[in-house]
Symmetry: C2
Subunit: 291 residues, 2 copies
Amino acid sequence: MNRPSTQPAHKPAMSTAGLAPSHPVQVLDEYGMPRDVHVAGERPLTLYVDKREIVTLMTLGSAPELLALGYLRNQGFVETIDSIVSVQVDWETGAAAVTTSRGVEDWEGKLARRTVTTGCGQGTVFGNLMDKLDGIRLPAVVLRQSAIYRTLQHVSEYNEVYRVAGAVHGCALCRGDAIEIFVEDVGRHNAADAIAGHMWLEGLPGAERVFYTTGRLTSEMVIKVAMMGIPILVSRSGVTSQGLDLARRTGVTLIARAKGRHFLVYNGARRVVFDAIPPAPPGRGQPRHGG
Amino acid sequence: MNRPSTQPAHKPAMSTAGLAPSHPVQVLDEYGMPRDVHVAGERPLTLYVDKREIVTLMTLGSAPELLALGYLRNQGFVETIDSIVSVQVDWETGAAAVTTSRGVEDWEGKLARRTVTTGCGQGTVFGNLMDKLDGIRLPAVVLRQSAIYRTLQHVSEYNEVYRVAGAVHGCALCRGDAIEIFVEDVGRHNAADAIAGHMWLEGLPGAERVFYTTGRLTSEMVIKVAMMGIPILVSRSGVTSQGLDLARRTGVTLIARAKGRHFLVYNGARRVVFDAIPPAPPGRGQPRHGG
């Protein structure tokens, strides 16, 4: 995580097989009238490593190579990107083929563990990652309210698929005023994995960055962000008890229900500088304790 | 699916270990003021069948016995509820222990398949269920707009955890004017599984029912509803291309973006009777094609 923010010497050979994220369909509205709308794409993508089948992911498919990379990183299948020779996605066969230079160590162990953990399934990677989490203490960074607002303003300019078709979640990696990458996918897990793949590929450390998501902050979102070394997590949605508990354990500053000028700080409040407090809403008077 | 809607002769012995769904926490708001809010609970629940570990689910925990039953049903681990002797949930150990009368046939095959399908993970159960789906043709039922509106009105009276804590999805099983069961969970998969467990337990067929969810209609939501034999699926959110494709294949009438008086019919439009068309919004004039 302390790697300098420069291009790594090695990059895998990668296809560029991103799909158009939405498709036009005709529906009837509540007036019984036809309307042309879009639906978000959703395609199965089966991930192979050295010709061995790992998993089938349902994905929007806009960043399939980054998704494959990030999935292997976040699931602990491959330790460093240096050992990945190529990532080739072919939608005709629905396959992402990853080739490594040294093979994967302890295949059986990793696949067996997955039976218990990803099986954990229905959207999480809980089990073995919890052990790794205990070694993580994220840097205590100061966060300015004005910076939160700038981030929210910038991400609002993205979310294109959501605006057109709905049915997706978006995740963004932000640094200072800039959004470095914004990924939408049908699962917020996938979008977070694709961002992990991007960080791996570009050799980006997490320490100076902010992770934004439209999705809920459940346990596995906090786990993924902590594993990426990112100390600040901002969501438009809410928080679960397990997400909050993991943020406290790892030191992730947790900002949720963030939209427009509104947000709530669930963890790390003493590191937030309130330098852009909005005027109290009309008729509310001064903000009060417990409001 | 053609079983009469009566109580089955057999019911497993079940614990009643539902948890309080939300917990109070203190946060800071955008004025820098403390506020007392709630977060949705999220707990790991490890499912054992005849002492064999199957999976760990992250759940709100409000209906853990139904979740265990429905998971076993929807994953195809157990064919009929008659073979289930008991479902005992113990939160101290985070375990749901299911005992069967005859054991599970072909353990190895089922667990191996799961490695590829639930592994499919990040929230789906795609692989082997697709084969089963091809045998399903749901009954072509007529749906009145007035009935859609009554359903939306009734579900709006639920969603309690969502209102208090957010970060959950809700699913409801509806029949005529009544909501038979409403389940919230941190994953909409879990909520759908719990409803499948309820239907199994009570011997309810799907044919005369409507399934409502606050969540997006991705592939696995349509798969689960089709497998339950329910011909009508209504969502507050959007639809993915794969969800739409599966609805067309199985004959599920698909209504999405349903909130208040608004909805869009994505599949099965010719079976919808527009008997409650709302007045056109002010300034819009008559509804037009392609609006």
